[in-house]
């Protein structure tokens, strides 16, 4: 490794602008004549729209236009799509209800947009939006998935009887049933996975500018995948033809999945910019973000794990109800199926697995992929089950896991995934050493002397990243291929621009990707510029989510570098009259191995562009592109160990130690990877201890729609962490990368809950484990003990 190459802890190239306030986010952008949009939103969870009177609003100061769903429909703007087809087990396609960008007849969740006001200022737009008079006829609403399935529940979409979107299964039901019937021990749990709001700190925003003279649209937007946005806006919503639409996702202030999707506001701002004849900007306020950013999780699950007399896992049966909210968001259908149920083998050899998933409409905000997307839910099921089983069997949770680990690779699970590489013992051992697992009893006794209940819990997670082999996901229902593209442009002076279809919104791509170039082409980081997030500059790309940018995005860059390197070597060999195979590129020089012959990197690059002396038949220039389609998913895995102290008087939980040992494959910049783990773990701790959407079951109102009601982890809520890595390389991509973006949010919730339930001696505890819930669970276990 060079000082700036693969493995180096170099500072991030993007930070200079962030620490000086010079980042450029969508809401920081202005164009001449720009007006503001304010949306009229449903105050009801379920209501007929009997009429919309815009007359008063239209007359208010500064108002340019008031536009409704009816006009949007008349203009032929298409409904919002779901991009992944899932079929029920009876072969029928999923029941997808129409999802217009502005509701026309019916609103199905609080916050759904029904009209938009365009005005000169934000205040004018908001005041006029308040003056739009919608004649609402309230309908009964339902907020939870199990209630929506019950007989007599309000029906949300006509084409989805009983609110059922699909009833899907994977695995072998008969084999799983047989394993359970013949088991020496069965552990059974009812598990809920709480609904979360992603809460990227930058609210969603869009600035749309239609240029009538050129019949061309520009959209600045808070997107994790601007090319996908352009494609969908064009091909499905018919807002603008693809070649006349430029989508720019500049600095984006966090995404965590919530900025993958193409939202109504982006469609409407583009459409309204042409309709009203002015550039239109919209920025969500925080309550709009709570009400309309796609939420995450919200599963209700029953799970049974069967063991033989030797404590070997022999079967697993899982039944899950997934709450999808009022509409199917872009990738919603894939989350509780191919991103969840396919990970239910965990790190273990389990011969028989079956999972059934029912996806359900409710009168709540749509749910889609949020950091981890299905994999946290799978890990939570598995690791709560294993920990509980160890307690029931009276064996060490660590050793029960170890005895059931997959030890040989590749390993084909019964639920599609083929694990390519890993060393689960190594991460377990590293975490146990880091946590001084053996010394826990002493720490527990010491805490008891201080009046605190100390508990320890672990979680061994595995996830599938590097999303994804296009052919494989196509066969599973995906509407797109999930490859990535890159172009490496070497300038005549030897500096390099890398154009990538990945998008950075906190991941540090401008640094990490440049480190790969520095390593391979022997130039300094300052000589490399990463270009992303603009459909005019980068031809196409699938964007950033599912921890795919290292494994897939960098692999595309690596392939393009291969081609650049090959051409540069041909030129250098020709210039120095040497054999191509003897040429080495390193440290800014191009050398003939074993001799003192060399040229500067910049001299070879210049020669490519002067073209005065190139090999016979070679085209001038030094610029290469590549598309990379992964051969398999990648499988990051690891072990997290959490120790907590609970105050028995209040139920308050302190996380006193958290140890993470992750196997992410090859790591490019350890400093950036540590940050990803820290952030992911804290989001997981947030889910475990603090966060959770509360809907009023009668009215469908989101009660937790501000930071006062939805607690986010703050600096004084969370500990520091002991973070380390073990390494097995991914054999399926050129760099051996597995991905690190989601692991923390996947492994930490079960580790925390396992620790708290250990501390209080009561396994009946749901997330978020607030002080009140922990105190009640503690009281219940004390009562139970007294009764024994």
């Amino acid at each position: 490794m060079g000082v700036e190459g693969i493995g180096a802890r170099v500072p991030r190239k993007e930070d200079k602008r962030f620490i000086t306030g010079k980042g450029r986010y969508t809401d920081d952008m202005s164009v001449a004549g720009m007006c503001k949009a304010a949306f009229v939103r449903s105050p009801h969870a379920h209501a007929k729209i009997a009429g919309i009177d815009t007359a008063a609003a239209e007359k208010m100061p500064g108002v340019i236009a008031v536009l409704t769903g009816g006009q949007l429909k008349e203009d032929g703007i298409g409904d919002i799509i779901c991009g992944w087809m899932i079929h029920s087990k009876d072969g029928s396609p999923m029941n997808m209800g129409a999802n217009p960008a502005l509701a026309v007849d019916t609103a199905r969740h609080v916050g759904q947009a029904v009209a938009v006001v365009i005005a000169e200022t934000q205040a004018q737009a908001r005041e006029a939006a308040d003056a739009v008079n919608v004649n609402w006829q309230e309908l009964p609403a339902v907020a939870s998935a199990d209630a929506a399935l019950a007989a007599g529940a309000p029906q949300i979409h006509e084409n989805a009887p009983n609110n059922l979107i699909y009833d899907w299964e994977i695995g072998d039901a008969a084999a799983a049933d047989a394993a359970i019937a013949g088991a020496a021990h069965v552990t059974k749990l009812e598990i809920s996975n709480n609904r979360l709001v992603p809460n990227a700190m930058e609210p969603r925003a869009a600035l749309a500018d239609y240029n009538a003279a050129e019949d061309h649209y520009t959209l600045w937007t808070t997107s994790q995948n601007p090319h996908v946005a352009r494609l969908v806006l064009s091909a499905f919503y018919q807002v603008a033809p693809e070649h006349k639409l430029r989508v720019i996702a500049p600095d984006v202030g966090g995404g965590f999945g919530s900025k993958i999707y193409i939202y109504p506001e982006e469609i409407v701002c583009l459409w309204a910019s042409k309709k009203a004849g002015v550039p239109v900007k919209w920025t969500a306020d925080r309550t709009e973000a709570f009400l309309t950013d796609a939420h995450g999780r919200d599963h209700i699950t029953t799970a049974e794990m069967a063991f033989d007399a030797n404590n070997k896992m022999i079967g697993l049966k899982v039944d899950t109800i997934a709450n999808f909210g009022a509409y199917m968001s872009l990738f919603s259908s894939a989350v509780p199926t191919y991103l969840y149920a396919t990970l239910l083998s965990g790190q273990y050899v389990i011969p028989a697995i079956h999972c059934n998933v029912r996806a359900v409409y409710t009168n709540t905000t749509p749910v889609d992929a949020y950091r981890g997307a299905g994999r946290p839910e799978a890990c939570y099921v598995m690791e709560r089950l294993v920990e509980t089983a160890a307690r029931e069997l009276g064996v060490s949770p660590a050793e029960l896991r170890r005895a059931n680990f997959v030890g040989e690779f590749p390993y084909q699970t019964p639920v599609i995934m083929a694990y390519d590489a890993g060393d689960f013992d190594a991460s377990l051992n590293a975490a146990m050493a880091g946590a001084d697992y053996a010394g826990f009893a002493g720490r527990k006794a010491e805490a008891e002397a201080r009046g605190k209940l100390r508990g320890i819990g672990m979680a061994c997670y595995i996830e599938a990243c590097g999303i994804a082999p296009s052919q494989a996901v196509g066969s599973l229902g995906a509407g797109v291929g999930l490859w990535e593209s890159a172009e490496v442009r070497v300038n005549p002076v030897g500096t390099i621009e890398v154009l990538t279809g990945s998008h950075s919104h906190g991941q540090g791509h401008e640094t990490t990707f440049a480190q790969l170039v520095a390593e391979r082409l022997g130039v300094g980081l300052d000589s490399v510029q990463i270009v992303h997030g603009d459909t005019d500059k980068v031809q196409f790309g699938m964007g950033t989510y599912g921890s795919r940018s290292g494994a897939v995005g960098m692999s595309a860059i690596s392939k393009a570098i291969d081609k650049v390197e090959a051409k540069a070597k041909k030129i250098a060999a020709h210039l120095m009259e040497a054999a191509e195979g003897d040429i080495e590129i390193a440290d800014g020089e191009v050398r003939v191995a074993g001799t003192d012959k060399k040229l500067g990197w910049h001299e070879v690059c210049l020669a490519a562009y002067t073209a005065h002396n190139l090999p016979e038949g070679m085209e001038p220039g030094l610029k290469e592109g590549a598309f990379y389609d992964p051969a398999n998913f990648t499988f990051p895995a690891g072990c997290y160990i959490c120790e907590v102290e609970v105050d028995p008087g209040t139920g308050h939980t302190d996380i006193v130690q958290f140890v993470a040992a992750d196997d992410f494959g090859r790591i490019i910049n350890p400093m950036i990877v540590e940050g990803q783990v820290h952030g992911g773990v804290v989001q997981g701790i947030g889910q475990a201890l603090l966060e959770g959407c509360q809907y009023d079951p009668e009215t469908g109102q989101l009660v937790t729609a501000t930071y006062n009601d939805y607690p986010m982890p703050r600096a004084d809520d969370v500990p520091s962490f002991d973070v380390s890595t073990t390494e097995t390389l991914c054999p399926n991509n050129p760099l051996g990368i597995k991905g690190c973006g989601e692991a923390g949010a996947i492994g930490s919730p079960p580790a925390v809950i396992n620790a708290i339930t250990d501390a209080i001696g009561n396994n009946d505890l749901t997330m978020p484990a607030t002080a009140e819930k922990v105190w009640r669970a503690l009281s219940a276990s004390a009562v139970a003990q007294a009764a024994e």
């Binding site: 620490i19 000086t20 306030g21 809401d27 920081d28 202030g253 925080r286 540090g508 400093m671 820290h678």
Partner: protein, 161 residues
């Protein structure tokens, strides 16, 4: 409309604004977009600036309230191109990820270290508890503030020298 006169990062500025205009809106209208709007309710701290040296949520302070006052924003943190020790430490530790919360956190940290460059990590955590960050888990931010404080303490509390 009301007239407001505010010294921002040492530079006198004047504006005529509707009385409901917040300091955050005015700063951003002046092109100082480093200060961010994250919630507009005083909960997230992305709009933190120093008003006469004291940290405030720019979204909760009316521009008129800042009349005659001195305001410091992230854009004024470095002097003559020399980064503030906090900025240097944030860069060296890769403390930020998406960067959106950074300007507010830097200003909260500046208020703390100006008063107490030797602040302990638990004091730093409490001082930053009004600033939400969703990306970083705060770890590298806390480390950087502690390091910047140590550097400032070594220079007698001075930041840019």
């Amino acid at each position: 409309m009301i007239e407001v006169n505010i010294t921002v990062n040492g530079e006198a500025r004047t504006a005529e604004v509707p009385p409901e205009t917040t300091l955050l809106t005015l700063l951003r209208d002046w092109g100082l977009t480093g200060t961010k709007l994250g919630c507009d309710e005083g909960d997230c701290g992305a709009c933190t600036v120093l008003l006469d040296g004291m940290s405030v949520n720019g979204c909760l302070v009316l521009a008129g309230r800042a009349n005659g006052c001195s305001v410091s924003t992230v854009e004024g943190l470095s002097v003559d191109g020399r980064l503030h020790p906090l900025q240097e430490a944030f860069e060296q530790h890769a403390s930020l990820q998406c960067g959106f919360c950074g300007p507010g956190i830097l200003m909260s940290a500046k208020e703390l270290l100006d008063a107490n460059p030797s602040a302990s990590k638990s004091e730093i955590r409490i001082a930053l508890s009004g600033n939400l960050c969703r990306c970083t888990g705060y770890v590298k931010i806390i480390d950087a503030v502690a390091e910047a404080g140590a550097k400032m303490a070594a220079h007698g509390g001075q930041s840019n020298g």
